[in-house]
Symmetry: C2
Subunit: 231 residues, 2 copies
């Protein structure tokens, strides 16, 4: 399905995995869109566009469709799937759909947010985060048993939701000096990561890892400055 | 659509608003189900059924359909809507659907969890919670402008999601010694509350307020015991 005159804008920032997943959903559907880059570093510099679109969370991504804002990446993907029907993203079966809706935000919290916290925590807290991250990776490994993609034979909702892993995890690992994504510890996840990076709409959209490493190093420094001093 | 041989079980507890919304969704669809009451007070007494069904969160509600567990109330409602197609719960329009998915968990956090915290916090924290609760109620008041129900002319996803308000808010208010749900402060919400309580599948399922008040008083006491002492 074409998207002429659909006026689709994606408000985001280059470093955000939450934004990329929305871009991939649009690309999978073949929807043309304009990318509107936001400065997210400085809360005082957030554009009036972002504040208008997402006054509650003031977060990216925001999808603007005919001027109407949709927020929260996982809800945006469901919106995209319900608006452009070709190339379905969510599974057809209601139980599988419920599972996809359940796992995506849980893995975001355990793995993506957990990894972020790992870049700037230490001691007991770091151990706790690390354990949670390992648990999340083990859950993903289990999910991939007997499957090519999380969606089965084709890329689906969970592939798009977890699609940040192949590149962001690598960058975060470098910053936090850990190594999860090796071929030995989580072999199925390792294979999937390489396969996902080769998917046609993903291939050209991934940022070079060294740019992300520099970004996460800065992020880490800013968080360490904010962190309460140890007593 | 009938549900003969569908083997639907709802694992829950009488006091939980998260459980009631699932029961209402099932009743709206005319799905017969068995209610399996769980003891949630004592974490050591949680049944093996609950631990098997929801090993990650160990929380209610759990819907068991043909033995398969679905967890998280808002995802369960979407599952019910996608499994039994009559009497649609979510709106048809993708944008409205996205909005419903966005508001439901946000109001849970701001209002339902906020009210719970209000029963046992004090000072600055209590003021903060109270402000958030007021903001949430104001958002609901805005949503009801020009509408009979949150779903429009008929009860929909957000009515079922917010359906705990008419009875639980009243009980929590008594425990926290506040009064939000009067006819003057949020008149549209007040009218909606009375209307929702009269909906045929809701009418007979609401618990007497005094039983809930006793429950929240005990909850409050247990939380106060847990709260860190002031320095």
């Amino acid at each position: 399905m074409g998207s002429e005159g659909q006026e689709v804008k994606l408000v985001g920032a280059w470093f955000s995995p939450y934004v990329y997943r929305v871009a991939w959903a649009l690309k999978l559907k073949g929807v043309q869109y304009e990318f509107v880059e936001q400065n997210m570093r400085d809360p005082n510099k957030r554009s009036s566009l972002l504040l208008d679109c997402n006054p509650i969370y003031k977060k990216i991504p925001v999808l603007l469709h005919h001027g109407k804002p949709i927020v929260e990446s996982l809800f945006i993907i469901q919106y995209i799937d319900e608006t452009w029907k070709d190339n379905p993203i969510l599974p057809t079966d209601p139980y599988e759909r419920a599972m996809a809706r359940f796992w995506a935000p849980l893995i975001d919290e355990m793995l993506l947010e957990g990894l972020k916290r790992m870049t700037y925590t230490e001691g007991e807290q770091l151990m706790k985060e690390m354990k949670q991250v390992s648990n999340a990776l083990q859950l993903l490994e289990e999910m991939l048993k007997g499957k090519k993609f999380f969606g089965g034979e084709k890329v689906g909702f969970l592939d798009i939701a977890f699609g940040w892993i192949p590149i962001w995890l690598g960058a975060m690992e470098e910053v936090a000096a850990i190594d999860f994504l090796n071929p030995y510890q989580y072999p199925l996840l390792h294979i999937w990561s390489n396969k996902f990076k080769e998917v046609h709409f993903v291939k050209d959209s991934l940022y070079p890892k060294d740019k992300l490493v520099r970004f996460f190093n800065k992020f880490r420094e800013s968080q360490l400055k904010l962190a309460p001093k140890k007593i």
